[in-house]
């Protein structure tokens, strides 16, 4: 009996995690161990991440009659403006080889995944400020959960695209089933950048505003609602714009069934992975400083 108790005590103390807090903790522990820590933290906090996502999701549509429908209304307006500009001849959309509304809505679905996700991530730490000051929990979960805000509108928009396909009497390409795989780089790019902007925005609030302006600006400089330009400055910009590859590759796959620019896409995939890992790493090193500056 006593021995049993002793064993129980031992096993309890064996399982106890020892945490240390001191300045420049990561520097002292060595950089290599950090990757293990990050992975463990993300794994342990899956349920927390889901709960935080649920909190955002439930609360943003609760006190509203149209609810989730707002996710479709806003992009429809943007597309309507482009259709108007196209018909009146102000803007030349170019050769897209598909009904424009499908092309535009699909493009907007991917674009909005990026822009909604990035804005939500950037504001995640700031919005949770009071909570961060009172409870110690994984801030990475907070950022990832915020990116989840982009998922539901994305799914609704994809469903709209299906309805349009049926409406036009067309069938999407069978390779379109691979789209979920081809948007992984987009997800990594969004969350990776989101980690970085969340951190900066927590300390310097100007960042949030700058991001909103840049996103509006970028939408017009990325061939989301028009075809890839062949000549001129815009063509050069497009060639070096990672967002172009992230948006157009899954769209080409759905519409035409093939990837047109493998080289560019692979480079951007690589960039996205590096960006995600790099920013997650930076976030881990500096998140302990967030609470005192928020």
């Amino acid at each position: 009996m006593i021995q049993g108790l002793q064993q129980m005590k031992d096993s309890i103390s064996m399982n106890e995690i020892i945490t240390t807090y001191e300045p420049d903790n990561s520097l002292k522990k060595g950089y290599l161990s950090i990757f293990g820590q990050i992975f463990l933290e993300l794994k342990q906090n899956r349920w927390l991440t889901y709960q935080l996502f649920k909190r955002d999701f439930l609360s943003s549509y609760k006190q509203s009659f149209l609810g989730v429908l707002w996710a479709i209304i806003l992009p429809l307006f943007t597309i309507a403006i482009f259709i108007g500009l196209n018909r009146s001849g102000i803007l030349n959309i170019g050769d897209i080889g598909a009904p424009y509304s499908i092309y535009a809505l699909l493009g907007m679905a991917f674009w909005q995944f990026f822009s909604t996700g990035l804005v939500a991530c950037s504001n995640s730490l700031v919005n949770a400020g009071p909570m961060i000051l009172k409870i110690n929990f994984s801030k990475k979960s907070l950022v990832i959960a915020a990116a989840g805000k982009a998922i539901v509108p994305f799914i609704i928009q994809i469903m709209m695209v299906f309805i349009l396909f049926v409406g036009y009497g067309k069938t999407p390409s069978i390779s379109g089933l691979l789209v979920p795989v081809f948007i992984i780089p987009l997800i990594l790019f969004t969350i990776g950048l989101g980690f970085f902007t969340a951190l900066l925005n927590a300390v310097i609030r100007d960042i949030g505003n700058i991001i909103s302006i840049l996103l509006t600006f970028m939408l017009f400089f990325t061939p989301v609602l028009y075809a890839k330009p062949r000549f001129g400055v815009l063509a050069t910009i497009t060639k070096h714009n990672p967002l172009y590859y992230l948006v157009s590759t899954p769209r080409d796959l759905a519409l035409k069934g093939l990837v047109l620019e493998w080289k560019g896409f692979l480079i951007v995939c690589f960039i996205s992975i590096l960006l995600f890992i790099g920013c997650l790493f930076v976030f881990h090193l500096t998140e302990t400083r967030v609470a005192e500056r928020i």
């Binding site: 945490t19 240390t20 349920w47 439930l58 009172k134 110690n136 310097i204 500096t286 302990t288 005192e292």
Partner: protein, 389 residues
């Protein structure tokens, strides 16, 4: 750190910045330095920075309860937040063994639009519980909070009492190895407060607890040892009654105050030999002398004063209407309040006084912290006269 020590704090300091713009700049600098793998050199002070906590060291053993006391701005909450890992020390080292639960603010993270049930899951996840734990404890949490049918209504329709009860209930069902409590035992009505105290005593059996409180009765009741912080410095650590003594002496300056003098009022406490004193003993004979000076009264002099116990929130108010006939210029009018047997509970006291004109609400003079004195019990002179048989 040996096995029985669950918290060890070694020479810990924390600095804050007074200016917001500089704080942003320093924050960006520190983050930048950490990012590229440089030390943030946090042990130096830059312009507009100050040490909010300076060189704090203590240990907490398994199963022990430590109280933290000190006036506002002493750094108590900062210390608690560092133990929880919300803030990181700028100097020194904190080592914690086991799962930490913090009751720094109840209901932090509750979303007003979500129902009580939804909020329980979210709050519990934030506090570090797993889904399985919450599923198992959900009924207990709801029952403890005494919410009833409201559990499926949005939290924004809750009364503030219900809100706090739910928050507290989630937090105490966390079963941490170390519980940090920041002055939240004062939530809800008296019945709920008692329930909270009972629950915390239950937790005490299996966990170490650190409690911040301004109520010295709570500290005496719950703590094995006590840490006294004053303006960011550690002024004492040890046995509760010793530390409470140092606390009263440092915070209230009782030893060097005999009598109170101001432009309009003077107060003295005299013992049975008519000597000025500030160390009073329960049940002995004292009189308090009040002298009013340079006061102009139109309708009639009214005096009211309260004995305020600085250590446990007790206060008692006395109104004097006897001088209502006095009007015009009042100068050097003295009166005595005599106690044959002083019946104040032991503690450190001050007197708050107000002079009114014709109506107690029309104050013409008011003084908050006048004379300071302490009341003690001695053998045969207890506050409550009782016999044990």
């Amino acid at each position: 750190m040996d096995k029985e020590t669950v918290i060890s704090v070694e020479n810990v300091s924390k600095k804050y910045c007074k200016s917001l713009k500089r704080s942003m700049y320093y924050g960006a600098m520190d983050i930048g330095r950490n990012m590229i793998g440089m030390s943030s050199k946090s042990s130096r002070l830059r312009k507009d920075e100050f040490w909010a906590l300076n060189d704090i060291s203590f240990e907490v053993k398994r199963g022990e309860t430590l109280g933290i006391i000190g006036p506002n701005g002493a750094g108590k909450t900062t210390l608690l937040k560092m133990l929880n890992g919300i803030f990181w020390p700028d100097r020194g080292k904190i080592t914690v063994r086991g799962r930490v639960g913090a009751l720094i603010e109840v209901g932090a993270g509750f979303h007003p639009l979500l129902t009580g049930r939804e909020n329980i899951y979210i709050n519990a996840a934030i506090l570090g519980m797993t889904k399985k734990e919450v599923d198992e404890k959900l009924d207990n949490i709801v029952e403890f909070a005494e919410i009833g049918d409201f559990i499926n209504s949005p939290v924004k329709f809750y009364s503030s009492g219900m809100f706090v009860r739910l928050g507290f209930s989630v937090a105490v069902h966390c079963e941490p190895d170390i519980l940090l409590v920041d002055e939240i035992l004062a939530v809800g009505d008296i019945d709920f407060q008692n329930k909270c105290l009972t629950k915390i005593s239950e937790i005490q059996e299996n966990a170490s607890i650190i409690i911040i409180s301004h109520n010295m009765n709570t500290i005496k009741l719950m703590c094995d040892r006590c840490l006294f912080l004053f303006k960011g410095n550690q002024k004492g650590l040890g046995n509760v009654s010793d530390i409470l003594n140092i606390y009263s002496k440092t915070t209230f300056n009782i030893s060097d105050s005999k009598g109170y003098r101001s432009e309009h009022i003077e107060i003295d406490v005299l013992d049975e030999n008519n000597l000025n004193t500030n160390n009073l003993i329960v049940n002995k004979k004292y009189h308090f002398t009040f002298t009013l000076k340079q006061l102009f009264i139109n309708k009639g002099l009214l005096i009211s004063f309260s004995f305020l116990n600085l250590t446990n929130n007790y206060n008692h108010r006395i109104e004097i209407t006897k001088y209502l006939h006095l009007t015009n210029m009042i100068n050097n009018v003295s009166f005595n309040i005599s106690f044959k047997h002083l019946t104040l509970p032991p503690g450190e006291y001050t007197i708050r006084i107000a002079i009114s004109d014709g109506d107690f609400l029309k104050r013409i003079y008011y003084a908050e912290r006048t004379i300071l004195f302490s009341v003690m019990e001695v053998e045969n002179n207890k506050f409550l006269n009782y016999a044990i048989s």
